[in-house]
């Protein structure tokens, strides 16, 4: 084993042992790795697969005492029913609009603020940086009741009704995403060499120009990571929309599925699973394409912060 290591040590170019010189140990390690990976993949994928299986069943088959892991009479009726229902499409549209706009708002606020906090420093900026982190410690379960009261005040004072509107989420979601995104971005900006912006400033660039021309391009992986994070959080948020929206025209997807497909004590499992799978699709697709950036950005930002 030590031999093998020495042999590879001489070969600096390869980051891991070449297969030709692989020792018996190494091969066994690989086999064990695959074995355990398969085990973990089964653990991780069982629920989504079961969701898929259930989504293909009729309600009669779901209630039957047959093998739950097999579909005897596959049907697409759950999918057809959901996708032709206006309400479900409305949830989807609301979720998409809310998530995208939240991402835009979050990134605008947090990139600019992170730049100011990481590079420019002002009176109280260090406290603020800590404060940003501390907001993450305050759970939304604590905040939603005071928010009811605040919304009542807004309604009385300005006549703006914030209850039961999907766009209220655009105000609330950033409270969940901005602290983390700012924190990641502070970390990322801190890792950029100071010489870069000093040089730019000497050349006569304004602060905004320094940010847009130098920092944003360099920190792009971090920005992408924070963007994906924000999108995931907004897409999955449950408590705020549950507490603040009621009408079907205003609901977002997770709450919509739970509140319209479950009625009283009657669960429509086939449709619930279908809706859940379809609801999981957009973030899955985003991760499939952007995962590498996400990983790179998240780790750089989090460790250096």
């Amino acid at each position: 084993m030590a031999d093998a290591a020495v042999a590879t040590a001489s070969d600096r170019a390869a980051s891991r042992p070449r297969y030709g010189s692989m020792s018996r140990d190494r091969r066994w390690a690989l086999r064990w790795s695959y074995f355990f990976l398969i085990l973990f993949a089964i653990f991780f994928l069982t629920p989504p697969i079961y969701m898929f299986i259930t989504s293909l069943k009729t309600s009669a088959e779901i209630s039957a005492e047959s093998n739950p892991w097999w579909v005897y009479n596959p049907t697409l009726s759950n999918y057809i029913e959901l996708l032709t229902q206006n309400t479900y499409l409305t949830f989807f549209r609301n979720s998409a609009i809310v998530s995208v706009i939240t991402v835009v708002i979050t990134m605008t606020i947090s990139v600019i603020a992170a730049f100011a906090l990481a590079r420019m420093r002002f009176w109280g900026s260090a406290t603020l940086a800590t404060g940003v982190f501390l907001t993450y410690l305050i759970p939304e379960t604590l905040l939603f009741i005071p928010l009811f009261k605040m919304f009542a005040w807004v309604n009385e004072t300005f006549g703006i009704q914030l209850m039961n509107n999907w766009w209220t989420m655009l105000i609330l979601y950033p409270t969940l995403t901005v602290p983390f995104a700012t924190w990641i971005m502070i970390g990322y900006f801190a890792s950029i060499p100071k010489e870069l912006d000093e040089a730019a400033l000497i050349d006569g660039a304004t602060w905004m120009q320094t940010l847009t021309k130098i920092f944003i391009p360099v920190a792009l992986p971090g920005i992408i990571a924070a963007t994906i994070f924000t999108f995931t959080v907004s897409w999955a948020q449950f408590l705020y929309p549950l507490a603040f929206t009621t009408s079907t025209t205003e609901l977002v997807l997770p709450v919509g599925i739970i509140t319209t497909l479950i009625k009283g004590d009657v669960f429509n499992w086939g449709q619930i699973m279908t809706g859940a799978l379809l609801g999981a699709a957009p973030p899955l697709i985003i991760y499939a394409f952007l995962m590498d950036y996400y990983i790179a950005g998240l780790t750089a930002g989090a460790t250096k912060g």
Binding site: M1, A5, T8, A9, R16, A29, L30, S33, L37, F40, A41, F44, P48, T54, P68, W69, I109, I112, A113, A116, L117, M120, F122, S125, L128, V132, Y136, L137, I138, P139, E140, T141, L142, I145, P146, L147, K149, P174, T175, V178, I202, G204, A205, T206, W207, A236, F238, L239, I258, W269, A280, L284, Y287, M291, Y294, I295, A296, T299, A302, T303
Partner: protein, 309 residues
């Protein structure tokens, strides 16, 4: 650097401007303005409602009278409250430990296999984290169902009795933690995998030359190198897990005998379901100091380490 920065814009625009304009040109003013949206957001939608929640927690049940710390005093005398404290800590700590271990182990295995296959595995293993938890927890609820549990169906085929997944304290605690680990472990895996990749290969080579076993390599090379990221990931996960609402709410609603309640779900039961909003706020407030203590410790540890390196 401060000098350069302060002179920078001024040098371009010239000095013959009004005082206000000069103020606007000052670095700290600009910086403050840039951070202003963040400050407004946090103050108005987090800090103010949090303060309001503290105020609410000091009212009587009918919200007509100020009772100071009366609600807290009342809570300290309730056995259910202490059970919720215990269960919340048990839930959060156990779940985070298992997430960290599983994440670490899986990251190692993924790191072990040839790079070209890694993307695919990584993608598959990340799925639980990407599905909105409210949705995936429903799938678990269905898998644990007393009448239709698909797990019990498999067990029955092996001649094993049906397991009361959510029906007995022990199993129910196991189940809610299991679901939390399932959702959170992939995030750890991804963070650790990235950290593993950033450990310089030379360190392992040096260790191998010294005759280190694989265990020693993990203990003396990998873990110290990943220290920061392990701490950060654990911290974030601890915060989120501690404040978790959906999993317990969907799976058990605190049953059996309130033994699976965590702070958030019990606060909901007391505050919303039983109509005692001040008491519910008082329960939720307990999450904050506990988390703050954890956060200070972990963060101090990181910065200490950071300055040593």
């Amino acid at each position: 650097m401060a000098d350069i920065a302060a002179r920078g814009p001024a040098a371009v625009t010239g000095d013959s401007r009004s005082g206000l304009h000069k103020l606007m040109q000052r670095k700290s003013t600009i910086a403050f303005l840039m951070a202003l949206p963040l400050i407004v957001l946090i103050l108005s939608l987090v800090a103010y409602p949090a303060g309001y929640a503290i105020y609410l927690a000091m009212l009587n049940k009918g919200m007509t009278r100020f009772v100071g710390l009366g609600n807290f005093d009342f809570l300290f005398g309730r056995e259910t409250f202490w059970m919720v404290v215990y269960q919340s800590c048990l839930f959060a700590i156990t779940a985070v430990i298992f997430k960290a271990i599983i994440g670490f182990v899986v990251a190692h295995f993924v790191h072990n296999i040839p790079s070209k296959g890694q993307r695919k595995w990584r993608g598959m293993l990340l799925v639980p984290w990407v599905i909105p938890p409210a949705m995936s927890t429903l799938a678990w609820l269905w898998l644990f169902d007393p009448s239709y549990s698909a797990f019990n169906w498999i067990l029955a085929n092996f001649g094993i009795d049906r397991v009361p997944w959510l029906g007995e304290t022990g199993w129910a605690r196991f189940s809610v933690i299991l679901v939390n680990v399932w959702i959170g472990a992939p995030f750890f895996m991804i963070m650790y995998l990235a950290a593993l990749k950033s450990v310089p290969e030379q360190l392992y080579e040096a260790a191998s030359i010294d005759g280190a076993t694989w265990w020693q390599r993990i203990w003396y090379v990998t873990l110290p190198m990943m220290r920061n990221i392990i701490a950060i990931t654990a911290l974030f996960s601890l915060i989120v897990t501690f404040a978790n609402f959906d999993i317990v709410r969907v799976l058990t609603k605190g049953d059996p005998l309130n033994t699976t309640h965590v702070f958030a779900t019990w606060a909901f039961r007391v505050g919303i379901e039983s109509g005692d909003i001040p008491l519910g706020s008082a329960v939720s407030l307990f999450m904050v100091p506990i988390l703050a203590v954890a956060a200070t410790f972990i963060l101090r540890d990181i910065s200490k380490r950071g300055s040593e390196v």
